[in-house]
Amino acid sequence: MSEPRLDQSVLSSLKEVMEDDFPLLVETFLSDSQDRIRLLREAIATEQAPDVRNAAHSFKGSCSNMGALALAGLCKQLEECGRTAKLEPAPLLLQAIEQEFAAVSQVFAQG
């Protein structure tokens, strides 16, 4: 994977902004992301392209805010699938997203 898992400059500016609340931000992001992955899974299972697009778009935005660049990149690919209504690669992309999210969660958990 060419993009770094977490952009350290984004993380440091987030820490600066959030101060003591940074762990809260991480916790919010992680629990919110689980909801989004669930939504993505449902949308792909029911083959609702617009829902795939919206959920991926939204997830992409919060990933980029948290500096999770690789995850944001995968979301972007999935959003494109939804936009063009070509859902064939979607299950594989979702799998990649789930793996990458697990890895990101791991990194955040290590502090």
């Binding site: 500016s13 609340d21 931000l25 919010t28 992001f29 919110d32 935005g61």
Partner: protein, 560 residues
């Protein structure tokens, strides 16, 4: 650092909400959050935040609809909406702008950029609210001004409508609020059944232009009703305006006196465009400005000299303010004097006013606000209502049994018109008030006969044609100026009778009074020169000449 304010954050993503509200709070603002568009609209209505950060794609209601609703709720107030979106999608940007979005913020959020955008938007907002406040203030002032003008106009109308602008021989065009452009149009019957008309144009606009109208109208109506000559009225108006108006404010005016009985038009024009006397035969006489406007000269320098023209039934006098030639059209051209005079030259005599009005509205294409136009027709004296004075409110007993005599000698005859004062005294007899018009006409007639023929020795045969007419009035003025000797005597005697009362007026002069022949001519009904005497015969209950000294007696009776 901008003033602290409330910022609404509408974002369905919990982490982004938290991040944004933290950034906003750290900048000293209060953050309120909504997870979708519908919540955002509801929260906006409750809290009226000053600024909104709006995600585009949200469940329930998206950011575009929410923005439209928030903008509608905000009304006049500027509530900046910053869309939270990545700048990559052109279509979404266009939709955001269409919905009323003011700016964009792309992800990932950057604290410094968000801070700068918040600051800029809040400055724009405060500028807008200043403009709005000023606009409202101006609107309020304007409303206030208009209501003041309405009050002033109502008061003024009550004074102006004391006059006879509605008389059958007057037509005029004037916008309802012309008063506040400084324009003034007044008309009143004189006690002798003639008519005075004043068209005035004060310098300036608005209330300053309107204030002078009150004193001017009061002088005009008060003195016209009492029978003062227009020269007297002019002198009084000039000195009053000179006294009360600041330097630099004055009134361009034309004052005319229409003497329907003697068929004489007197004109004084100070500073207004030349009006026109349009004779029935098609010839036209300009009524030129020969004087400075009213309110400029000191009383001793003021020239009250009026031009005198003979007039005939059917002649029309047209006067206008400079708003008429200066009326503009859409192309910025002015109507102009030439076009105006052309209309007057070519229109059928009886349609002068209508055609001028039509030409004006064709030219300008709309209602003009700043012009006054008036036409006065010369009509038979009898066709106008005879003015009778209302009984005075005083319950005082009338003087019923008295006699009084007056001698007016050369220097007084030159400079003073005694008739208004004599009338005022006579009308102390309440019972004579209904006869005021008759009395005034009789007095005017006998006094000018005594002065012009008896004292000045003028021959009324001169007045037989239009040229002689002008010569007659020139001669009258010259002889009066040169007068060193001579007198006019008026004697009044009022007595009670069984059924009412009886006023006897005796007139004599230094020229030997009325020639015996004049009375005979009058009785025989010779048309021109004898007109005055015939009229006296008709108006008085009795009219006779004293053979011994040539004095004329007139007797008027009233009944209870």
């Amino acid at each position: 650092m901008s003033e602290p304010c409330t910022v609404l954050i509408a974002e369905d993503n919990a982490a982004d909400r938290l991040l944004l509200s933290t950034i906003v709070s750290k900048q000293g603002h209060r953050a309120i959050v909504a997870a979708n568009g519908a919540e955002a609209v509801e929260l906006f209505a409750q809290e009226r935040p000053q600024l909104v950060l709006m995600d585009a794609l949200m469940p329930v209601m998206d950011g575009f609809d929410a923005t439209r609703q928030i903008k509608a709720l905000a009304g006049d107030e500027l509530v900046p909406v910053i869309f939270l979106t990545s700048l990559t999608e052109t279509e979404a940007l266009v939709r955001a702008l269409d919905a009323g979005g003011d700016d964009f913020l792309s992800k990932p959020y950057n604290k410094v950029i968000l801070q700068a955008k918040l600051g800029a938007m809040l400055r724009m907002r405060s500028l807008h609210s200043t403009v709005l406040e000023q606009r409202n203030l101006i609107a309020k002032h304007n409303e206030h001004l208009l209501s003041e003008q309405r009050v002033a106009k109502a008061v003024f109308d009550r004074i102006a409508h004391a006059g006879c602008l509605s008389a059958a021989n007057i037509r005029y065009l004037q916008s309802p609020f012309a008063l506040f452009n400084g324009d003034l149009l007044l008309a009143a019957f004189t006690p002798s059944g003639g008519m005075n008309i004043l068209l005035g144009d004060f310098t300036g606009h608005g209330l300053p232009a309107a204030v002078g109208a009150m004193p001017l109208s009061e002088v005009f109506y008060g003195m016209t009703a009492k029978g003062f000559s227009i020269a007297d009225v002019l002198r009084e108006m000039n000195q009053k305006l000179k006294r009360i108006l600041p330097v630099g404010v004055f009134c361009c005016a034309t004052l005319i006196h229409l003497n329907l009985h003697q068929r004489v038009l007197e004109v004084w024009n100070g500073g207004l465009p030349a009006g026109v006397l349009c004779r029935k035969d098609g010839s036209q006489q300009p009524l030129l400005s020969r004087n400075l406007p009213l309110g400029i000269l000191e009383p001793e320098s003021f020239n009250d000299h009026c031009e005198v023209f003979d007039i005939a039934e059917g002649d029309r006098i047209l006067l206008w303010s400079d708003g008429v030639p200066e009326s503009g059209n859409a192309a910025g051209e002015m109507f102009g004097e030439e076009r105006l005079l052309n209309v007057l030259k070519n229109a059928p005599h009886e349609h002068l006013f209508d055609q001028l009005r039509a030409a004006l509205s064709n030219f300008t294409g709309e209602q003009q606000d700043d012009l006054s136009l008036v036409e006065v027709a010369v009509v038979p004296e009898e066709s106008l209502p005879w003015q009778s004075l209302p009984a005075s409110a005083s319950t005082r007993q009338s003087p019923l049994d008295w006699s009084a005599g007056f001698d007016f000698r050369a220097s007084t005859l030159q400079a003073f018109n005694p008739l208004p004062f004599l009338m005022q005294w006579l009308l102390e007899v309440q019972e004579l008030r209904p006869l005021a018009g008759t009395l005034y006409t009789m007095l005017t007639e006998v006094y000018s006969n005594a002065l012009e023929h008896g004292v000045l020795g003028l021959d009324s045969a001169l007045k037989a044609d239009a040229n002689g007419f002008a010569a007659y009035y020139r001669e009258r003025m010259e002889r009066l100026e040169a007068l060193e000797q001579g007198w006019v005597r008026l004697h009044f005697d009022h007595r009670m009778e069984a059924e009412g009362g009886c006023l006897t007026i005796q007139v004599s002069d230094s020229g030997g009074g009325l020639p015996a022949a004049a009375m005979a001519v009058a009785n025989a009904g010779t048309p021109f020169a004898g007109r005055g005497l015939r009229l006296l015969n008709e108006l008085a209950d009795e009219c006779w000449r004293d053979e011994a000294d040539g004095s004329l007696f007139l007797r008027v009776r009233w009944q209870r």
